[in-house]
Symmetry: C2
Subunit: 694 residues, 2 copies
């Protein structure tokens, strides 16, 4: 039962489950994420028991040895079977690994990351050109191992895999809120699991300067509240990432986003000091003075130090969101603009970048910057990271610049995984680029901006949605089915917790804090409500705040505790959709909808005692009442629908008015089942013709 090449990259869960060719009893389902470039399914499965062994042939290095140790440890965690490295005849090992040759000492963009993984009922073989491919293949093997009727096992399969894009990254802003090293490490483990290969480390901001500088110690002493990474820790993290086939690209944002630099070095700013670390969020005025030679001398020495500390070939200088206010109010700077014929502040920033780029280059690095740094006059060696969008990226590519996409991949905006998943670096204007222009689009990076994260909830803001972006950047472009993606992502989400990520387990603990001591029934009521809400999207959290948030604001509210995507609401919407599509004639679906809606309607009464005792529950009281109202509307609609009765004339308008009120955010939360209930109301209003709404 070997599938043909037509199943390339798509012969996974979604396709399998809906294919009439597949016998679900005999055919293993594959929960691979990202989907490999090519998969052929074989017969049988390879058991993983306490005799499981692994051996390597060909090129080897200490990193590979350690990778095998980690692999066994993780396989052992995943199965709870004690496993350890066995010596002996390597050709008889359960999994034999062959690596052709070394990868670059300092990992480079575009190295060979391909691998071939062949699993049969009697053994498995993993071959790769470089250790980077070997690392990826080991991850795929781990994803294949699953509980089966006979024990833990990997299905027989042949996987020929390589990435679509060479730059697949995650940016973490560790400046607005400091992110401890162990939190970064577990997220790097996550990156390895989904085959991302860049960790972009946003290290300076108005709210913090996070790296020890030996040359300019007042940077971290003045700019960090003592929350910074020592150079030893930076080195440790880079090593940790390298072990996992991940490059570390540092970002030091200039000339804006730079208040924290000026606490220790006010003479570099364009306005008079003194400066304090910024505690609020937003775009602020302080910016480097591009007209002062001291600025370039400082940056030269600083970049010299950091270029040594961070071995990667790319060096990110930020360059975004300079509001120009300090430049406007500084007469000397305005004079400079005129004297040099720079037209305006934008011209001044171009001037700054043209001065900065040779410095970065002198220290052996290629400069990376956000959209704003784009200037035809800069050398084509630089890389544009686009927060503005694919058009901006395509324009850069046309001009000969390389680019990476981040627009559409901002994890902090609270988008659904499916929405991120639909964003393709080669879509929009980029779809029409010439092949050599397309090749300049190196990939993309998801971005975790840090206004509302702390070590407790950061994982839940990154995972599992980041896996959807990782798949977009790795898998063939025709892998786009969101249903398959969601099913695999939910399975992966469970597995990622084995790595120490806490994106699932954090939730209960935060709710526990919010509830305080409570009866099981009360706590279930809170859990139920929490499972149906999402934080407000995009940048509306600022807009809807009752008090201006700062970096000292406790992140202990329901809005901080709930996942950014409600799986329960999504499943409910699917159920409603299927029910309506089946002409409302599926009694089992009807019963399930009714049971769910009844439970929701009664939830508020159970939650109220908690709201009396906890200010954090009280904050969601209105949303809880809304849930009851919403469920009551849904039950009414369901009654009309199943009885085939047409509701009174003005009923629909009344219900929609109620839903409109419910749809307004409260406590910075959105009640997610509302659109599905609206569909029920509309189906009910359509009378006996509910099947037409499918």
């Amino acid at each position: 039962m070997v599938s043909g090449p037509s199943m390339r990259g798509l012969c996974l869960l979604g396709a399998l489950m809906s294919s009439p060719l597949v016998n679900a009893q005999e055919q293993p389902l594959l929960y691979l994420m990202p989907v490999p470039a090519s998969v052929q399914i074989g017969t049988g499965r390879l058991l993983v028991d306490s005799k499981f062994s692994v051996a390597s042939t060909g090129y080897t290095e200490p990193r590979l040895d350690r990778a095998l140790e980690r692999f066994l440890l993780r396989l052992s965690r995943q199965t709870a079977i004690p496993l350890s490295r066995k010596t002996g005849n390597s050709s008889k090992a359960s999994l034999v690994i062959h690596t052709d040759h070394a990868s670059k000492e300092i990992q480079e963009l575009g190295e060979d990351e391909s691998y071939l993984l062949e699993v049969t009922a009697t053994g498995a073989k993993l071959s790769a050109v470089t250790p980077l491919g070997t690392l990826h293949g080991l991850e795929t093997f781990l994803q294949l191992v699953e509980v089966s009727p006979d024990g833990f096992a990997a299905p027989a399969v042949t996987i020929n895999d390589k990435p679509r894009f060479p730059w697949r990254g995650l940016m973490i802003d560790s400046a607005r809120h400091f992110v401890p090293l162990d939190v970064l490490k577990r997220n790097i483990d996550g990156l390895e699991a989904v085959k991302m290969n860049v960790f972009h480390w946003h290290l300076s901001e108005n709210q913090g300067f996070r790296v020890e500088s030996k040359k300019f110690p007042k940077l971290h002493e003045g700019g960090s509240d003592g929350l910074y990474y020592t150079q030893e820790e930076v080195h440790d993290l880079i090593e940790y990432a390298r072990e996992r086939g991940i490059r570390v690209v540092p970002e030091f944002d200039v000339p804006g986003h730079s208040t924290a630099w000026f606490v220790g070095y006010p003479e570099l700013a364009s306005g008079p000091g003194p400066y304090e670390i910024e505690r609020k969020w937003g775009v602020f005025d302080p910016a480097f003075d591009p007209t002062n030679e001291r600025t370039y001398k400082f940056l030269d020495q600083f970049i010299a130090e950091m270029a040594k500390l961070f071995p990667d070939h790319f060096f990110h200088v930020g360059g975004d969101e300079v509001n120009g206010k300090q430049w406007d109010t500084n007469a000397k700077i305005q004079e400079f603009i005129k004297a040099h014929g720079l037209k305006n502040n934008q011209g001044l920033q171009s001037y700054f970048n043209k001065r900065l780029e040779p410095i970065v280059s002198k220290h052996g690095k290629s400069m990376v910057g956000w959209d704003e740094v784009l200037d035809p006059a800069l050398p084509k060696d630089i890389v544009i990271q686009s927060w503005r969008g694919p058009d901006s990226l395509a324009a850069a590519a046309k001009q000969g610049f390389r680019g990476i996409l981040s627009n559409g991949y901002y994890l902090d905006l609270g988008w659904s995984a499916a929405r991120h998943y639909a964003v393709d670096p080669l879509s929009g204007a980029a779809a029409n680029l010439a092949p050599e222009e397309k090749a300049r689009i190196l990939g993309g990076e998801s971005c975790m901006w840090a206004e509302y994260i702390n070590p407790e909830n950061i994982d839940s803001r990154i995972w599992p949605r980041n896996a959807a972006i990782a798949e977009r950047l790795w898998s063939p472009p025709e892998v786009t089915d969101p249903a398959s993606m969601h099913t695999r992502m939910e399975a992966l989400a469970d597995r990622l917790e084995w790595l120490g990520l806490t994106h699932k387990s954090y939730h209960r603990q935060m709710l526990q804090r919010i509830a305080g001591p409570s009866t099981p029934e009360e706590f279930v009521a809170l859990t139920t409500l929490a499972s149906l809400v999402e934080p407000v999207k995009d940048y509306t959290r600022e807009e809807t705040a009752t008090a201006e948030p700062t970096s000292a604001t406790p992140l202990n509210r329901v809005v901080d505790a709930v996942p950014l995507e409600s799986a329960t609401a999504r499943h409910f919407a699917e159920l409603v959709g299927k029910f309506l599509a089946a002409s409302c004639h599926d009694p089992a679906a009807d019963a399930r909808l009714r049971a769910q809606l009844t439970a929701w309607r009664e939830n508020d009464a159970k939650l109220q005692p908690l709201a009396q005792r906890s200010f954090l529950v009280k904050e969601v009281s209105a949303t809880s009442r809304d849930l009851s109202t919403l469920a009551a509307v849904g039950l009414l609609a369901l009654d009309f629908v199943t009885k085939g009765q047409r509701p009174p004339e003005d009923w629909k308008a009344q219900q929609l008015a109620v839903l409109e009120q419910i749809q307004k955010p409260k406590g910075q939360l959105l009640l997610m089942p509302t659109p599905a209930i609206q569909k029920l109301v509309e189906a009910a209003s359509a009378g006996g013709t509910c099947s037409s709404s499918s």
Copy 2:
């Protein structure tokens, strides 16, 4: 609203909730565990917000400074409010700490651990004689802080507290299964939270020798599979415990339980070698040769080394369960017994102990041993740890020996918290001892034997039940209400996870592994079943095993994943009890019972698809079917009861026969709601007289 001295030690949750004098809206509920010696409740509460500060006066030392840092960190975790140490006027701090003087450099048995904690709406004061009391008081303060209608707060209260017993310990067997250092540390954090003050470290066994010996390196090299603690790690752990007011008592078990020693040093054994690390469980034959002078020379040098490594005054030599088989079959040893008039093997072990005690004593330690070491000829300085029971302990006390109770506190037997809670070191024969004899009973130790634990589930085998034992050993003897204990223990269980303990969070991850990728409905079905079963009790796991378990047996089954006490089954039994007590006339209780039983009856159908896919779910298929049957019986009984109908003649016998089958363990699991269903059946059979069963 200050309560009088009559509420001493009991004015906590249980008492408060049932007291008509208390206004639940105004009166804070206290979730303290262990219950303090004396509590007086005041008016109002002290808010804990980002301005919260702490200062210390009187005696100070680095350990206290670090304790305050940890305190703030934990308060910060508990509330998610960023808090850091502020300098300034100490008298204005929110919490002012005063410590009189230092405790002993090496913590001693019986030091002053008392403290006085006064909280008002405007500030809190903690006073203690020594840092040990200060540490305890900080824990009490953390337990007082809870979410309130206005924010996080501690209620106004005056607590005057001290322990009932001076020796309150937990033993962890890190020999049968190795327990990594970080797992021990988080459990020591747990001990601090419940005011236990001894960590008894069981370090050698037939299955492993776990400490690096520089003098006799073949001990750990041959006896540990590489899984041992370096001396540096031991030192680190002792320091870690000392920081938390906890003594570390090492145990090296001789002359039995000692196979792992003989792998490297077979010449010390009573039988011919060679020896291998034992992989199975049970009592084994190898024992030291008490007739060979080499044994004493070796132990002298070994204890000299370990006495330096472990600073505590007490040194545990085990001494339990010598089966004597090696002695029986060694002619030289039998000759020695005759030549020295020792009667039998027991006499030989007495001889051994009489030789061993002076060695321990010479190295500055008091010897501790299990019951078997008791011998009137030994000096009164030794301490007897009783696994046999209170009578054995009382007998020792009568002879002038000090003792600690562990019988009744074996955590691995799977007893309920309430059953452990009811065991008092001064009960049974000990209750009738003279005061000076009673004083020799120093306290007790819970014991975590390690046949069926690993880093993943060990916390769940210790916590939260260990808190009930901790309370027994700390709180006044009249604190005995199991309902109050359970309510407070459940609240504490949630808080303990803030320390990094995983006794709650491990569960979902293990079930996830057991289930594999699954639909939400399937996973809920597994969770529901898992919430209603408990592992078989006492030592029946061995007896009911289908294959002989070893140290390499994966601990990945449902029996390994479920808590040792089913809270859901306990709550269900309470509900049944209340329903029957109210003459079956409470319609709300009826509805809840009916809903729960209906869900259980339908659970098996939802679980079956998982059982098809996972061998680990398949193992509990029979139990799952039993649950459906059990629930069906319960629903039938409920119908008879609520309708006041008497069932047919032979109905009761039929149902009891069904229940008898269900009560038999399957997959080494017990289905816990069975006794409550039996009560329903009996009430139904009694016809309209169901109220009489209350």
